[in-house]
């Protein structure tokens, strides 16, 4: 995989810190599964977390906690090894997404939101902010000029598109700031399927409305 577009370092740092939202975290985790360079960045950023733990001012722990831990420990050697998980779902997808989706991408139930544009929302935990969706855009189809009123992060899963930032192919990330405007066009023979996390659902609805505007006149 020849990945050219990566998440912002600030996004990777927030991911490592554990303070990136659930939707954006799944997009970043999926990119990481495909991108060794960004895994290195995240590992560096995790070191920072370790150093901060070392520096925490100790908070006395109740006397019973150690005993409760000790009585819960299993003496059997832990047999678990990394990389032996059987991953449910589509092997063509990055592991974190495949696990979350639980079915091949061919079985996704798409909802048409505009001509040539289909969407499938992924379920988030209660209280999670934002929206996580798969988006499928037909060949030659453009998504008209739109801005983002909240942060939005997109991972290309298959196909490709071009906008003023360049050409985005599988593994590439568009990590767009507030107020960035772009006008993208799918240039692959197959439809372009992306995973999109938007920070605020209301704002994202705004984007969908604007997407649909030229077609439906909403």
């Amino acid at each position: 995989m020849n990945i050219k577009h990566h998440p912002d370092d600030a996004t990777l740092l927030a991911y490592a810190a554990g303070s990136l939202g659930e939707a954006a975290s799944l997009v970043v985790a999926s990119h990481l599964a495909w991108c060794p360079g960004c895994r290195t960045t995240v590992r560096c950023a995790e070191r920072l977390g370790g150093t901060l733990i070392d520096g925490m001012q100790a908070e006395p722990v109740s006397a019973g906690v150690l005993d409760r831990c000790l009585s819960a420990l299993d003496d059997a050697p832990a047999a678990q090894t990394p990389g032996t998980h059987t991953v449910a779902g589509d092997p063509a997808l990055p592991t974190p997404l495949a696990r979350r989706l639980g079915c091949p991408i061919s079985q996704v139930r798409w909802k048409r939101v505009a001509p040539g544009i289909q969407l499938h929302d992924l379920h988030l935990s209660p209280g999670a902010r934002g929206r996580l969706s798969l988006m499928r855009v037909a060949t030659g189809r453009g998504v008209p000029e739109h801005g983002h009123s909240g942060s939005e992060i997109t991972l290309v899963l298959s196909g490709s598109y071009t906008d003023r930032f360049g050409r985005f192919q599988p593994g590439d990330i568009a990590d767009l700031d507030l107020d960035v405007e772009h006008d993208l066009r799918v240039d692959s023979a197959q439809p372009c399927i992306c995973l999109v996390a938007a920070e605020s659902p209301i704002r994202f609805k705004g984007i969908i409305a604007r997407l649909m505007q030229p077609f439906t006149g909403i």
Binding site: G18, T51, G150
Partner: protein, 188 residues
């Protein structure tokens, strides 16, 4: 108990190895004495009440026992590994209802990630250098790091807390990371 005792990176690493190889409970108790009070403080800063913080400490410590055989010495300090376990435990608890586990990079590591592939992360002195680098960080950069890592604020929340544009928060995080990364690369 000797709360808040200090141990060197080598000592911590030897304790985790003893837990992994010989299921050594005394070694576990020493790890507990070092990490449990720090983890409790960490969880409380993130908004957990003392009882919930202790539950999370307990879950994290038990996970340390269970995952000890997976700890890869050359990949990073024990504290870093413990930080990722604590982070994941806490996020998994927040998302428990849906079984949406935090996708840790250890779950899908590639062979190229094994020590040897990543010299930047290997040096034993890296922890000290990182501490120095953190101490030298301008306060405005350290502040966004603390708010993201310890107080668990999203970038947009940091922006509104500090009354700064989101772009400024992001650029401070980027600058801080750049300085720290540079320190780690000097070692490679």
């Amino acid at each position: 108990m000797n709360d808040g005792q200090t141990l060197t990176g080598e000592e911590l690493s030897a304790l985790v190895t003893a837990v992994a190889k010989s299921r050594d409970r005394a070694a576990f108790a020493r790890l507990f004495a070092y990490f449990a009070p720090r983890l409790k403080a960490f969880m409380m800063r993130k908004g957990a009440d003392p009882a919930t913080a202790e539950d999370l400490v307990q879950e994290t410590m038990i996970a340390i026992w269970n995952k000890a055989p997976l700890y890869v010495e050359g990949r990073g300090a024990v504290s870093t590994w413990v930080f990722t376990i604590a982070r994941n435990q806490r996020i998994d608890r927040l998302r428990r209802e849906n079984n949406h586990h935090y996708a840790d990079i250890d779950d899908y590591d590639q062979p190229s990630d094994e020590p040897g592939g990543d010299e930047v992360l290997m040096d034993r002195q890296a922890g000290d250098r990182l501490r120095e680098a953190l101490a030298e960080l301008p306060e405005e950069q350290m502040e966004v790091i603390r708010l993201a890592y310890i107080d668990d604020l999203a970038q947009s929340e940091i922006a509104s807390r500090l009354r700064l544009p989101l772009g400024t928060v992001k650029s401070r995080m980027r600058l801080a990371y750049g300085r720290l990364r540079q320190k780690l690369e000097v070692l490679a």
